[in-house]
Each structure stands twice: as structure tokens, then as C-alpha cells.
């Protein structure tokens, strides 16, 4: 190619135009299908490391001969080994003593032996998604794919988190519209109020919500606020491209509201003499020790307060931090699944028992998505562990989500994802793969939020999930 100055400028012009278009598209708040309606609340729960769905959301009958170790491992065998009998956890052993299959049923749902009754009690509201094609066995990729609904660019997340989309649709009114508790969360091109506030603990939240250091004398503080409100300098105008100065001043004003609110007291999670409301929350979540507070129950408590008290529109929370059991699955995995799902079940109960200011319960306004990086292999490896597996599962719920149903399936041989009819949710050889993008599109649609941000993933709305 004869590379000339004309060619170079033309290429740069096209590239610049693409950048400009992308920037412009990203700056416009995403359309809400019904601008007057609130999208409701959103709870994104993450279990880190890749879960064994045989113990959780996609069990198999442990007494079925197809799934014995011998038949699972032989050539042409099922390739699926629930191996519930290998699990050393006491609660699983107790269950198997009275239910050798290890499969627990609640309504139309079936769960593995590590799922506690605290979560199964909500079966009427929950939909299990099976055979979710993760298309990756890399932790970061799976996590970011399910967080944003868009397949990552290499390891880098693509797009905004679903919590950011919901926070954007809900508007800037809540103190912390988008709260990320020990999770990743992203804002790509949406207004800054929708950006995640990332915390790992209530100590972080106290840093965020309470004024730090010595307060000013109230008269000083008022005088400074009056000065800030009236300030109108040439430099302000010069800097105010894209309204960044205007936005900064509005945010400064809002930060004073945050500091003056009593929101910090809602997260005073002290085990010794907690405030009465916090004590009630602790009792509901079974928090009585420092370990409880530092673990999934403590993080669930943060999520519960943030949603129940109107602090946040969308919360993402990590409920399990280390499921990547390539070895010692038999001793380690079930307790972590149980603890995480127990925390979730209790969290749902708290939300059900908390009235919402607009009527009904907070839970009646909440859409839920529970996911992990991917699943674990249906065969146990030589180190008593399970490795990474492409076909995963998920749990969803919401005011516009039809609960008490299972959508999708994995095959009884090798546990691969099966194609489904999105209209019925049933296996259909002529159907489509169910991917995180499709689940996101379905949840966003249920909340009345346009799916433009993930449209380049060509998502399919799984209408079987929608009420």
C-alpha cells in the first residue's frame, strides 16, 4: 500500500469519529422503557471461584447407578459423579442419612445437599437457570461476563455492571445508588452518580458516610456552603465543558447531605451494644461473632441495610470468597456453599420482613441474580477436587420474574449445557444457548430498562422467565 499523508489523515479521521461516537453514546443516560417508573431494587450476589452446582443448583440423584463412580468414569459413561458420600460436612451427612439421593425438593425446584432450608423456603419466588454457557474457564472472565452481561475484552471487563445500569435508571436520589460490597463493579460511560461505591466492610462504609476528622463550627460550615453555592468565577466557566463543574458543585452539595444524614449509624455493626435496629438485623442474619460479621453474613447485613433503608438502588455483594476447590472439595466446598446460600436466604427473609415506603415489602421490589465464575467438573479429580466446567447455573428472582421454575438444563452425560426454547424454558434441540448476556437482557427487560448497553451481545430475552 502506498501510505500517504492523505491516507493517514483519513484513517485518523475515521478512528476519531468512532471514538467520538462511542463517547457520545456513552454519555447519554440509557433509555428507560417507562421513564416515570422506578426500575426497583437490584441485588447481585456473587460466589467467587466457581461453584459445584451438583451440591447446589443442579444436583443429580446420588443413588442413580448412572452416577456411581464406576459408571461415571467408564468410557461412554455419564461423566457425572455427585459423590455426595465423599462430603465430610456434618450437615450433608445428616441429610444423606435420611435422603440418600441428596436431592432436596422445594416446590418445582430441586437443590443439592449443600443448600440450606433458609434459602429453599423462598422457592416460590426463585427461578433456577441451568445449562448457562459461560464460554470461559478463566475466573476473571467468567466473573466479569456475569457482572456486565458482556464478554470481556481479554481479561478487561466490557461495559457497565448490571448494578450500574440499574442505579443509572433509578436516578441520583439514593445516598449511594450503587454499592459494591467486596465485588467488582464498573461504570463505562454512564453518569458518575451511578458509579459503584466499593467497600469491603462496615468500617469502609463508616469512612464513606461519616465526616472524618474534626467538624467545623456550624457557622463556619454554613458560611462555606453559602460561598460554594454563590461561587461563579471565570475559571469555573472555562472548566465547565460537559457540565463537569456544574456536576462537581451539585455533588459537593449532595456530599454535605450525606455527611449530615444519619446513614452511618445504620452501619454501626458493633457486636457489643449495637443499636436496636442493628441488633434485630444481626438476629435475623444469625450474626453473633466477629467471624460472622467478617464473613458472608456480615456482608449480607450490609446489603440488607443498604436496600432496606433506601441507601442504595443496587447492591452487589460477595457471599463466598473461595470456591476454587481443585483439591479438598470433599472437605471444603459444601460448608462454603451452605454458608453463602444461608446468608442469601436470611437476607431475602429480612427484605421480605421490611416494609417498602411505596407499599409491599422491600423484597417485592427487588430483583435478584446469584452467580459464580463458572461451574466445577462433574467428575472428581485425583486430588479429591473438581476443576473448571463450562456449563453453569444461576438463580434469579424479581417482581416480574416467574419463580418456582427451572429454566434450562444440563445433559445427564458430561453435564454439558443444552439448547433451550426461550419461550418455554425447556430443552429444545433447535433452540438457543442460554448465556449471561441473555440472563441480563431478561432481568433488565423485567425491570423496564432498555438493553441497549448489551445489544452487541445479540442477547435473547428468555420470556419463559417473565411474568
Amino acid at each position: 500500500m502506498n501510505f500517504s499523508r492523505r491516507n493517514f489523515l483519513q484513517v485518523m479521521g475515521i478512528a476519531g469519529g468512532v471514538v467520538a461516537l462511542r463517547e457520545f453514546a456513552g454519555r447519554v443516560p440509557m433509555a428507560h422503557a417507562d421513564p416515570g417508573a422506578s426500575p426497583g431494587l437490584f441485588l447481585l450476589c456473587y460466589m467467587r471461584g466457581g461453584w459445584d452446582q451438583l451440591l447446589a443448583l443442579d444436583p443429580r440423584d446420588n443413588t442413580d447407578p448412572r452416577f456411581s463412580e464406576a459408571n461415571a468414569r467408564k468410557t461412554g459413561g455419564s461423566g457425572i459423579m455427585p459423590a455426595y458420600g465423599m462430603v465430610t460436612e456434618a450437615a450433608t451427612k445428616t441429610l444423606l442419612a435420611s435422603n440418600p439421593s441428596g436431592v432436596q425438593r422445594a416446590g418445582n425446584l430441586s437443590f443439592g445437599p449443600a443448600v440450606p432450608t433458609t434459602l429453599m423456603d423462598h422457592a416460590a419466588d426463585l427461578a433456577i437457570l441451568r445449562g448457562v454457557s459461560m464460554e470461559t474457564l478463566t475466573h476473571e472472565v467468567g466473573r466479569r461476563y456475569f457482572t456486565t452481561g458482556k464478554f470481556p475484552r481479554g481479561l478487561a471487563a466490557s461495559g457497565s455492571s448490571i448494578t450500574t445500569l440499574v442505579a443509572n435508571a433509578g436516578g441520583p436520589t439514593p445516598l449511594l445508588p450503587n454499592l459494591a460490597v467486596s465485588t467488582e463493579s464498573y461504570n463505562e460511560g454512564l453518569p458518575s452518580f451511578a458509579s459503584p461505591t466499593s467497600v469491603n466492610s462496615t468500617a469502609d462504609l463508616q469512612l464513606v458516610l461519616k465526616p472524618l476528622g474534626k467538624a467545623l463550627d456550624p457557622k463556619s460550615a454554613d458560611a462555606i456552603e453559602a460561598f460554594q453555592a454563590k461561587s461563579d468565577t471565570c475559571e469555573n466557566h472555562e472548566l465547565d465543558q460537559n457540565n463537569v463543574v456544574t456536576t462537581f458543585r451539585e455533588l459537593t452539595k449532595k456530599s454535605h447531605s450525606v455527611a449530615k444524614s444519619n446513614a452511618a449509624s445504620l452501619f454501626q455493626f458493633s457486636l457489643t451494644s449495637p443499636p436496636a435496629e442493628v441488633k434485630t438485623l444481626f438476629d435475623a442474619l444469625g450474626i453473633s461473632t466477629a467471624a460472622d460479621l467478617a464473613g458472608p453474613r456480615g456482608r449480607a447485613a450490609i446489603a440488607a441495610q443498604a436496600l432496606a433503608k433506601g441507601i442504595s438502588q443496587a447492591v452487589s455483594v460477595e457471599l463466598a470468597d473461595d470456591l476454587d476447590d481443585h483439591d479438598s472439595w470433599d472437605t471444603d466446598h459444601a460448608p462454603k456453599i451452605r454458608t453463602a446460600m444461608d446468608a442469601l436466604g436470611r437476607l431475602i427473609t429480612v427484605l421480605k420482613n421490611t416494609p417498602h415506603k411505596d407499599g409491599g415489602s422491600v423484597w417485592s421490589k427487588t430483583t435478584l441474580l446469584l452467580f459464580s465464575d463458572f461451574a466445577r467438573t462433574p467428575l472428581v479429580n485425583t486430588r479429591n477436587g473438581r476443576d473448571h466446567h463450562l456449563a453453569s447455573s444461576a438463580l434469579v428472582a424479581g417482581p416480574k420474574i416467574r419463580g418456582n421454575q427451572v429454566v434450562g438444563a444440563t445433559a445427564d452425560q458430561l453435564m454439558g449445557a443444552q439448547l433451550i426454547n426461550p419461550g418455554t424454558g425447556k430443552v429444545d434441540a433447535g433452540g438457543v444457548k442460554m448465556r449471561p448476556a441473555d440472563i441480563h437482557a431478561t432481568l433488565l427487560t423485567s425491570m423496564g430498562i432498555a438493553i441497549d448497553p448489551i445489544r452487541n451481545q445479540n442477547p435473547t430475552v428468555i420470556s419463559a422467565l417473565l411474568k
Binding site: 499523508r5 467545623l216 457557622k219 469555573n236 455527611a259
Partner: protein, 229 residues
């Protein structure tokens, strides 16, 4: 010898051949090969420039000690939460969105409520430290904040000094040069200083003035001009 002369002439001839000629050689004016001629019409290039953004956590960490100088012990003044540098607190850094280069590699540099809140916290703390340090320095030239006033000066007792100090602070914190004698530009800050000083319940004149300067300092550090560029 003839060969040497010839070889010496070759570069000279080449230079002569490529030299701009005063009589408008057409091949040079019109360009050569595929290059557009010099009278080519403008090419519309669509592009974006970087829009104003807030200071990053790292920039704040670096700039606060420069803006506020050193304390009485000679240590650089920086925002402290308790006894520790606040911007080294992982919770604060994380909440501000500082990348950890494990999960995130970018810091969103748009203003946020959290950033504004933390800057308010930082301003209250660091302005107090700056004024405390200045109070130990008898030579105004060594002070970071009160360079043109005595510690107890008011608008009534030293209007010129107060205005000079306000102009100095505008330059120091906002890089805005206010002309000597321009009273209008610093009038809002003067009013802030005066209002807060007079409203102070302190009885010591130095303490009253200190509160006024503290308010001015906080207002300057939390202003868009300090935080956006």
C-alpha cells in the same frame, strides 16, 4: 586527484539539485508522488479532546504536600485520618476508585459524591495542619498560608494585607493570578473570611482570625478550580 574532485562535487550537486529554487520549481510546490499539494483544502478530522477531569488519588497524594508545605517538625503536610495518611488507607483509596491493578487498572476520574465528601474531610484536616504550622513561624515568608498577614489581622485592621493574602492563596491553590489592586475578584473570599472570623466564639483575636482563614482554605481546597483540570 581528478577522482577526488569528482567525488567532492557529487554531494554538492545533490544538494544543489534538491535546494529550494527561488523561481518556483513546480515539482516542489505541487508535491510529489501521492502527497496532496500544499494548497489542499482542509480535511475535517473528527476527534475528541480530553475533557476536564478530577484529580486522581495519586495526584492528590502528590499535590497536597506541595500546596501545604511542611509542618513544624519539617514533615510534609498531608491529609491524615487519625495519625495515618488518609490516602494510604486502603478503604479510602478503594472507595475513591484507585485501581489495584488486580481487578481494576483504571480510575474513573469523573467527580463523584464520595470524592467531594473526602475532599471536604481532607480540607478540614489539612487546612488545620497548615494553619498550625504557620502559627509556629514568625517570619511570614516561611508560611504556606498566611504569607501577607499577621496572625491576628482582620479586614478592619489590615484590609490590604488580607486582600494580598487572598490573592496569594488564589494563586497558590488555583493557579489564578489576581492582579494587585483587584479587590472585586477576591471579594467573596474576603467576605467569607470576615464573616467567619466575626462569628467565631473564640476570644483570642488570633484564634478568631484563624477560623476565618480556615474557612477560606477549606473553600479553596473544595473548589472546582482545585479539583478539576
Amino acid at each position: 586527484m581528478k577522482a577526488q574532485w569528482f567525488l567532492a562535487l557529487v554531494p554538492a550537486a545533490a544538494i544543489a539539485a534538491f535546494a529550494c529554487s527561488g523561481n518556483g520549481d513546480d515539482s516542489l510546490v505541487q508535491g510529489s508522488g501521492n502527497a496532496p499539494p500544499v494548497d489542499h483544502p482542509p480535511i475535517q478530522v473528527q476527534g475528541t479532546s480530553a475533557s476536564p477531569r478530577r484529580l486522581s488519588t495519586d495526584q492528590l497524594r502528590a499535590s497536597l504536600p506541595i500546596a501545604f508545605g511542611k509542618d513544624a517538625t519539617g514533615a510534609p503536610i498531608t491529609w491524615k485520618n487519625g495519625a495515618n495518611p488518609a490516602l494510604s488507607n486502603p478503604g479510602i483509596a478503594r472507595s475513591l476508585g484507585e485501581p489495584d491493578y488486580i481487578n481494576t487498572t483504571d480510575e474513573a476520574l469523573e467527580p463523584s459524591v464520595l470524592y467531594a465528601k473526602f475532599m471536604d474531610d481532607a480540607a478540614r484536616n489539612i487546612c488545620g495542619q497548615g494553619l498550625d504550622a504557620d502559627a509556629t513561624r514568625t517570619d511570614p515568608a516561611q508560611r504556606a498560608l498566611l504569607r501577607h498577614v499577621d496572625l491576628a489581622d482582620t479586614v478592619e485592621s489590615n484590609a490590604a494585607g488580607v486582600d494580598a493574602n487572598l490573592r496569594y492563596l488564589k494563586l497558590r491553590f488555583h493557579a489564578v493570578k489576581v492582579a494587585d489592586g483587584d479587590a472585586a475578584t477576591v471579594a467573596p473570599l474576603r467576605e467569607l473570611f470576615s464573616t467567619v472570623s466575626k462569628a467565631s466564639t473564640e476570644t483570642d483575636p488570633k484564634a478568631k482570625a484563624r477560623e476565618g482563614w480556615n474557612a477560606v482554605c477549606v473553600a479553596l481546597v473544595t473548589a472546582p478550580e482545585f479539583n478539576l483540570y
